[in-house]
């Protein structure tokens, strides 16, 4: 056991650092060719890197002050594109992977629907096969990046006679297809830069855009969301981004706020939890390094991480007192380099209720732990085994 991260003199680190010194402002395509966009993928896209090398590359990207491509095209790079390795055709890999990894084509996930919520399998968007294409109708919601995306990863129902999970398929659709309309959602922070609604009105999707086989949509999507859960559970307050408990404590010390023993104790609790979350994230990394599946245990990390982040920004907000209600008032300081929107303490606070909404509510995560890790009996979903069409007919999708 060794909690030290790869040291400064690590030869692999030196090699990566040398590359970034030779390419001071690399284009993403260059980084992709070097294998630095998805180092854990097999060649030619990645380097088949172990977890330590992945960490080294991530740290060196940060050190070189280069924007990480996965910040620009997270849906493709963190979640979905990997499915093409296992379920895609050669033609699909050829068409999609390069522009995705170079962040030249932004992807978005067309998963959630207004009627669905955490019951993703109850989605209503349909894809009807006609000759050499599918015709898609429906509505998606909570789609990050939809307004910037060229490619949408769509889950839609291709077989209404199958069960709610069994009748789903996944497609890679062009977001500029006729019939696709994107409308931003203004969230309670007052900003509209995060989420969108997407309306799909008789959208024609060529049959070769089907990923995997018909009916595999549920399994493929679940694997993609699982990946997201790992990526999202770092100790920044907002899904790993934004301020962490370290910044909270540094800021409170700098502002002299630790003189208040109530703040002192609360900040200490958060600091401890934040350090533990950091260790858990590294351990998940390390487990992968030891070829051990981190699996549903990662849900445990997220179940702690999400409310942790909310309490971090809450304490920072309460430290402001009355001024905390004034937009633009002085907040705790943040480090100079900024990774994005959430690095603003004020914005992070007004956004924070979403943290426990996105990517599996707390309740679902706790069920995952209880059922898959602890082996407790499963919650029954009375709609799981019935053909979708029968559910619709029985109106089992409206209130009992």
């Amino acid at each position: 056991m060794n909690f030290d991260l790869p040291p400064e003199g690590d030869p692999r680190r030196l090699e990566v650092r040398a590359w970034f010194e030779a390419h001071p402002k690399p284009r993403f395509r260059e980084m992709g060719e070097a294998g630095y966009v998805v180092p854990h993928w097999p060649r030619p896209w990645g380097l088949a890197a172990d977890a330590e090398l992945q960490l080294i590359i991530a740290e060196e990207i940060k050190r070189a002050k280069v924007t990480a491509p996965n910040l620009v095209n997270p849906v493709a790079i963190n979640n979905c594109a990997q499915s093409l390795l296992t379920h895609g055709t050669d033609a699909q890999r050829k068409r999609f992977l390069e522009p995705a990894l170079a962040a030249e084509e932004i992807w978005c996930m067309l998963f959630s629907e207004p009627s669905g919520g955490s019951d993703l399998g109850a989605l209503r968007t349909t894809a009807r096969r006609e000759d050499d294409h599918y015709v898609v109708n429906g509505q998606k919601i909570w789609t990050s990046l939809a307004h910037k995306a060229k490619i949408g990863v769509l889950v839609a129902r291709t077989d209404p006679r199958a069960t709610k999970h069994g009748g789903l398929s996944q497609f890679l659709i062009d977001m500029d297809s006729p019939g696709v309309t994107v409308r931003p959602i203004i969230d309670m922070s007052g900003e509209e830069n995060e989420y969108n609604e997407v309306f799909l009105d008789n959208v024609k999707v060529p049959a070769e855009r089907l990923l995997g086989k018909e009916g595999e949509g549920w399994d493929i999507s679940m694997r993609q969301l699982q990946t997201e859960r790992v990526a999202l559970s770092k100790p920044g307050a907002i899904w790993g981004a934004g301020p962490s408990a370290r910044e909270l404590v540094d800021g409170l010390i700098a502002k002299g706020a630790m003189r208040d023993p109530l703040i002192r104790d609360e900040a200490a609790k958060l600091y401890i939890e934040g350090e533990i979350l950091r260790l858990l994230a590294y351990r998940a990394f390390s487990d992968r390094m030891n070829a051990k599946d981190s699996g549903p245990e990662s849900a445990a990390r997220k179940v702690i991480a999400a409310p942790h982040g909310q309490r971090v920004v809450d304490l920072a907000k309460r430290w402001q007192g009355m001024s905390g209600l004034v937009k633009g008032a002085e907040t705790l300081p943040m480090p100079e380099h900024s990774d994005g929107l959430f690095d603003d303490w004020d914005y992070a606070f007004w956004f924070n209720p979403a943290v426990t909404l996105g990517v599996g509510t707390q309740e679902i995560l706790k069920n995952v732990i209880a059922e898959r890790v602890l082996g407790l009996p499963r919650d029954r979903d009375p709609t799981a085994k019935t053909p979708w069409a029968d559910l619709l007919a029985a109106k089992l999708q409206t209130a009992a």
Partner: protein
């Protein structure tokens, strides 16, 4: 001993419910950058004046209704439940200040006009850090031959913009006094704060050589009494807002379906709602006791008010967060009311001393009593 509301209380509450139910429409606030002005702030006030609500706590001899704090709670609770945007808080605050600190002549000069004409008031006590108990050195009054001149600035002044008179806490001769200031003179500059709670109008005010009249009573005796009443107001709004949030969340949980059942059928949700309901019951009784104690001028009143403010605000903050969680992602959008309650809860919690500050005050009081 009778812990139930009197028939008069109930009638008052029902009439407030009736009026506000028809009058208040928060939909205009569910668009970005909307302000209270878009939600009928001025228009609603006009109707309230017609109903006599401008003079609720002003004695009948001065043209008002002379309601007790308990009676008043019936009405302001309903305003809290509906998040009614209207300059009630400022006018109540100003009226109390004049009632407590003004001479008879000063009361005669101002309060009948408030009660009958709907003259709008605002109380400027907080400094830029939100402290309302300080020495007031941010704003200073200078005596002139005919009165006083005020210079300085105040912040977090509720309902200042559009008001007619400000009551300002300002330092004079090393002490803090309360001064009556015509808000419409050039030396008074009022600016809207970019306040996160869009249901309330909160301002910063600068005074440059503003003419002022001193209210006669000693601020140290007056301010604790005014503050207790304002704390009651915040607690009452919060307890009632909390109840509204519980009701709307329960209704949603009955209707929203996941995995083939209403989400309210899941224990995880049921038990959260049961907790929210229980806390709402607690907040409600705490507020009623505080209102009654103030009405009776009970020696326990300050303590009871501090308790009600601390409890109701904490519970309101927790429930409005929880409500968004139960609504799910839709509850996080600007077009739903959830965030309005969330923001009102956060703001009320901070105004005039956070729950933790109220708790520290409570123990101070208990220690003094034990000593």
């Amino acid at each position: 001993m009778d812990f139930a509301l009197s028939d008069d209380n109930r009638t008052l509450r029902a009439s407030a419910q009736d009026f506000l139910g028809k009058e208040i429409d928060l939909d205009p606030l569910l668009r970005p950058n909307a302000t209270v002005a878009d939600a009928g702030y001025a228009e609603t006030w006009k109707k309230m004046v017609e109903l006599g609500w401008a003079g609720l706590i002003i004695p009948e001899a001065l043209g008002g209704s002379g309601l007790s704090c308990l009676d008043l709670t019936m009405i302001v609770s309903e305003m809290g439940r509906t998040l009614a945007p209207a300059p009630m808080f400022g006018t109540l605050a100003g009226s109390w200040a004049i009632l407590e600190a003004g001479s008879e002549a000063q009361q005669q000069a101002m309060l009948p006009r408030v009660a009958t004409e709907g003259l709008r008031l605002a109380l400027a006590v907080s400094d830029g850090n939100g402290l309302s108990d300080g020495p007031g050195s941010d704003t200073l009054a200078t005596e002139t031959g005919s009165g006083y001149i005020i210079n300085g600035s105040k912040s977090f002044v509720v309902d200042a913009e559009g008001c007619d008179f400000l009551i300002v806490a300002a330092g004079h001769a090393g002490k803090r006094g309360l001064f009556l200031v015509d808000a419409r003179q050039p030396g008074v500059q009022i600016g809207l704060l970019p306040w996160r709670d869009p249901t309330r109008q909160v301002c910063a005010v600068d005074f440059v050589q503003a003419a002022a009249e001193r209210l006669v009573a000693d601020d140290t005796a007056v301010w604790p009494r005014v503050r207790d009443r304002l704390l009651l107001l915040l607690a009452a709004e919060s307890a009632a807002g909390l109840q509204a949030v519980v009701e709307m969340t329960v209704a949603y949980a009955k209707q929203r379906v996941a995995f083939g059942r209403p989400i309210g059928a899941y224990q995880a949700i049921k038990h959260q709602l049961a907790d929210m309901f229980s806390e709402a019951e607690c907040a409600n009784v705490a507020v009623l006791h505080a209102a009654w104690a103030l009405s009776e001028d009970s020696p326990l009143a300050s303590r009871s008010v501090a308790m009600a403010k601390s409890y109701a605000c904490d519970a309101y903050v927790a429930a409005t967060h929880r409500s968004i969680q139960i609504f799910g992602a839709i509850g996080f959008t600007w077009e739903m009311k959830n965030h309005l309650y969330f923001k009102r809860a956060r703001a009320n919690a901070e105004m005039l001393g956070s729950p933790a500050v109220q708790r520290a005050r409570l123990i101070d009081m208990l220690e003094r009593e034990a000593a």
